[in-house]
Subunit: 286 residues, 2 copies
């Protein structure tokens, strides 16, 4: 029987989630809902939350309270553990599963970082992003008063240091320096070198390509100079949508196994992300 | 309380396992045993099997029958699923856990392959090895009659195709062409381009460096041209030993959770491989 997956929110990521569900032979689309729809109408095994990140916690609580498992790509790194702790009793008490922070970073990159820490417990990992548009940062800028449209580009400076290049198209009568100050004080930008520029049209700059260069140099046992590198060059919403759908599969399986609760991706067996027979997957991948 | 980890076999990998146990703050070494020791003397939570790969299944059954969890780096890819099925009831019936094929390939590379399949369900993955010494292949050559010492080097030819360069030092009176024929017919070599060369001294050629270049190009949802790459440049036995010790930690945890059975690495939550508090690991990695 196919897993019924619905989604809430239909922006770039919601659209990519729809495509990934349609491409998955073990799933069927159980509906696309908008932020203000009547959520009581949802009948699904799993709901993928494609809302702005800051609306994720409330939607997750709502769905879990109905016993429906959720997946999200909540991406404020400093608050992920707190969200997990908030959703844990909601999921457990309602016999559901919530997989949070399920994108590529946080998400699949987190799995790579965990694996590399296991391979070389001492050492330093650097995650270098971009150049590419950050969806989370872009949405954060768009939420600022006076901003009509925005684009936040992430530029890797090496050793995990990044520059934020923020392009804003303003509402009539908006004051650029007020907007700039609000951006620079936002949690998303407060810790990085950030440049804000006013442009006439953000649309002409837009491009959803992104990249990662994740490096670890460390020690296995007492042997130094162990070198690891993970690179991606990807369409950002397409990958985020695909990871969300893979995690919807994992959430459904964990729920069927009665392993209720809230999980990050490093807490899930990688095989749970995959469609296919266990024997065939193990024979082909291991 | 520290996890008590013993090991059987004390070659390159056994030595590296010892070093990784000593370096792990949550573990203590519970003894080093040789193939012909009295295994009834072992008192440990987990035993790491560092024997030649073909001796692994019997040692695993022996330890599991005593209720002691095992970890091994069994590396004959075509037989891993069968080993899992053989050890599954042994582990379940004796309330123990066995993690098999726990090295870097099979092992951590398998986890990367599983993750990349989740990120781009359609596409092709190529795993390119080397240049470097293959321990499994070298041990297989050493087991052949007439071989005094051997070295099998893996040379990447791209798109997952490899050349095997086999250097053999023969016993007195051994016939080179008989040895060469035995090597070429061995399961380890029958599927690859293999060159066998007789040398006076294998010791002067030895070097345990190795490498991997794992590539996937695929489709997320319906978006093509998603590019992924994983590279390693490592000391081979040191990494194998470290992975085995990380999996010993995971085996112990799974046993404590009463999730008895036999597992490959793609069936284990990555966080189980790591020492440390759950909250701190999630906050720093996700």
């Amino acid at each position: 029987m196919k897993t019924k997956v619905a989604l809430i929110g239909y922006g770039n990521v919601g659209c990519a989630v729809e495509q990934a569900i349609v491409a998955a032979e073990d799933m069927e689309l159980a509906g696309i809902y908008h932020h203000d729809d009547d959520l009581d109408a949802i009948v699904a095994d799993v709901v993928v939350l494609c809302t702005p990140t800051r609306e994720v916690p409330d939607f997750a609580v709502k769905m879990l309270s109905k016993g429906i498992s959720t997946v999200d790509s909540f991406d404020i790194h400093g608050q992920i553990y707190d969200l997990r702790q908030r959703l844990m009793p909601q999921a457990q008490n309602n016999h559901a599963v919530s997989i949070i922070a399920a994108g590529w970073d946080p998400g699949s990159d987190s799995v790579v970082r965990a694996l590399l820490l296991a391979l070389a417990p001492k050492g330093i990992t650097y995650t270098n992003f971009g150049p590419g548009r950050s969806m989370g940062h872009t949405v954060a800028v768009k939420a600022i008063k006076g901003v009509k449209n925005a684009l936040s580009m992430t530029i890797p400076l090496g050793t995990g240091i990044h520059r934020r290049m923020v392009y804003v198209e303003l509402e009539d009568n908006a004051d650029f320096s007020t907007v700039e100050k609000a951006i620079l004080q936002d949690d998303y930008f407060a810790h990085d070198e950030t440049h804000v520029m006013q442009v006439d049209s953000v649309d002409t700059l837009n491009n959803v390509a992104h990249g990662v260069n994740l490096i670890r140099q460390g020690v296995s046992g007492n042997t130094h100079n162990q070198q690891f590198e993970f690179n991606m060059s990807i369409n950002n919403p397409a990958l985020t949508g695909q990871v969300l759908v893979a995690c919807a599969r994992a959430a459904h399986r964990l729920q069927q196994e009665k392993r209720y609760g809230a999980y990050t991706m490093i807490e899930i067996p990688p095989i749970y992300l995959l469609d296919g027979e266990e024997e065939q997957l193990i024979r082909s991948l291991v």
